[in-house]
């Protein structure tokens, strides 16, 4: 219940590191140096940027719709941070005890669309409005494949509570776990734990679900190759064109926040949450040795950060899609494949029973 005491400082610290990390990763991928001057290897560049950003004047355009303009960024961040309340931290510290956890998470996070709309409309700027319309169209369409891939996991786990889903993927499970979930093969791996009881191994079809989840998650976070809402070459800055100083900073905070949230959710749903990847083999109880309050937090965070790295990697590798290509991807490829996977996961669940 008190997980936000951890997640709020962690999110703020993460943004500081991630902005620097992203610039360094981008530089590495594009054979440049990235930030170099401030501190050793440019490490304090983000702090310097932050200092500059806080000092900037808080400008509200004269023709803007003031209350909506001011409320927009706050609502975006609130909606996204509310999603963190459902996340568990380790075996003992669960998030909010909501039975329909993952559903509520998706519902709350989808409210950030309202904030984006406020920002885009309130700015009284054509570029902002275009950016907002694109963002909303994109988020609303990609929520369907995202929801379908989450539905596959919920069907396999028979639960929507994130803590319960995580418990099923490790040594603390109540039901016995069979290799690849196939009861007919009769190879029980309950005591081995580790990677063998993660959802992607327990029912290998979920690996494809994860691909859909990852792609839709990128679109949900408005990140390249789906960063149409803020495509610099066409729309200046999208829905946050008119914002300056700290208000712009809140949008950045929200963008990195949703990246982190999507990664957390992917780790919990597909890659065992706070469970260790190591397996008990014979007298080497690797899994038992690497479990415990501290270890569990470590596994959750490290797996999540690897996924965040993958998101950055994708961003600097692929070119941006066109609007029609984006919609084609969502409606003609991801959604039908998602539906097919829901059907196949249902069949797999029948074999697991």
């Amino acid at each position: 219940m008190y997980t936000f005491l951890f997640y709020l400082p962690f999110l703020l610290f993460f943004v500081l590191v991630a902005v620097y990390g992203e610039r360094k990763i981008a530089a590495f991928i594009q054979s440049r140096f990235g930030p170099m001057d401030v501190g050793p290897k440019g490490m304090f560049q983000t702090l310097a940027d932050l200092l500059k950003m806080i000092q900037k004047e808080d400008i509200v355009p004269k023709a803007a719709d003031k209350p909506i303009f001011l409320l927009g960024p706050i609502l975006v961040f609130t909606a996204i941070f509310a999603g963190f309340s459902m996340l568990p931290l380790n075996a003992n510290i669960a998030g909010a005890a909501v039975e329909s956890g993952v559903l509520l998470l998706m519902a709350v996070v989808s409210l950030d669309v309202l904030g984006i709309l406020m920002a885009g409309w309130g700015s009284n700027n054509k570029f902002s409005l275009y950016g907002a319309v694109r963002a909303i169209a994109q988020i609303v369409s990609f929520e369907i494949p995202l929801g379908l891939s989450v539905l596959c996991v919920v069907m396999i786990c028979q639960s929507m509570d994130l803590q319960e889903i995580t418990q099923q993927q490790g040594l603390y499970t109540i039901d016995p776990i069979f290799l690849f979930g196939l009861k007919g093969m009769d190879i029980e791996v309950t005591q081995m734990g580790g990677i063998l009881s993660w959802n992607v191994v327990k029912s290998p079809l979920l690996l494809f679900c994860f691909l859909i989840f990852f792609i839709a998650g990128l679109a949900e976070a408005n990140r390249a190759p789906f960063d149409l809402p803020e495509s610099e070459s066409e729309l200046v800055g999208g829905y946050h064109t008119e914002y300056s100083g700290f208000r712009w900073g809140i949008f950045m905070l929200a963008e990195y926040g949703i990246m982190l949230l999507i990664s957390f959710l992917a780790v919990i749903l597909f890659f065992g949450g706070w469970n260790t990847p190591f397996i008990n083999i014979g007298s080497f109880h690797w899994a038992n040795w690497t479990m415990g309050s501290f270890w569990e937090v470590f596994w959750l965070l490290s797996k999540t950060l690897i996924l965040v790295f993958a998101q950055m990697w994708v961003r600097w590798t692929y070119p941006r899609l066109r609007v029609d290509q984006l919609m084609t991807l969502s409606w003609k490829y991801l959604t039908p494949f998602g539906l097919l996977l829901v059907f196949l996961c249902g069949l797999w669940k029948l074999m697991m029973l």
Binding site: A63, D65, I68, A97, V98, E99, S100, L103, L104, M106, A107, V108, S110, L111, V113, L114, L117, M118, W121, N124, L129, V133, I136, V140, M160
Partner: protein, 164 residues
């Protein structure tokens, strides 16, 4: 404690609802509607329907409201830069409101619903799922069929206007 929350959400619904009716700025009205719908979700939580609250946020605040907002954004702004609405059909509006108010009054008077401490937090979803596929299967399937028809109809209309 539950009663404090009930009055809080009730007040929120009342204020946002009244402002929503009396404001002339259409985009404000849309956002106030969002506040109103979210407060109703809070009411569902107090009345021990947490799953219904989640669905309320997902469908109404997250889905329908976006459609409304989209509709407003695609309409033309007036010369002052705002979308202004006026009041029309006051008589019929008053009549319909009176009817609904009487209906709600009659319902509230005859049923024992009221705020309560949350009795049961687990097993709700399982119960709802089982009821949908046994007791209420006909209604469930009919709604599914209706949605399919709407989907096909919408895509047909979309295609037709493209070729015209």
């Amino acid at each position: 404690m539950t009663e404090v929350w009930m009055y809080f959400f009730g007040l929120l619904i009342l204020i946002s609802g009244l402002t929503l009716i009396f404001t002339e700025n259409l985009i404000y009205a849309a956002f106030l509607l969002a506040l109103c719908l979210l407060s109703i979700a809070g009411f569902y939580v107090i009345y021990n329907g947490s799953f219904l609250a989640v669905i309320q946020i997902l469908i109404y605040a997250g889905g329908i409201l976006i459609l409304i907002a989209f509709g407003i954004m695609l309409t033309k702004r007036s010369s002052e830069g705002k979308v202004i609405v006026g009041s029309h059909l006051l008589f019929f509006g008053f009549l319909v409101t009176l009817g609904i108010a009487l209906l709600i009054y009659a319902l509230v008077g005859s049923s024992p619903i009221g705020p309560q401490e949350i009795l049961q937090t687990t097993g709700q979803i399982r119960e709802i799922g089982i009821r949908f596929l046994t007791q209420y299967i006909l209604a469930f399937e009919l709604i599914a069929f209706l949605l399919l028809v709407v989907l096909v109809g919408a895509s047909y209309l979309g295609k037709k206007s493209q070729h015209a």
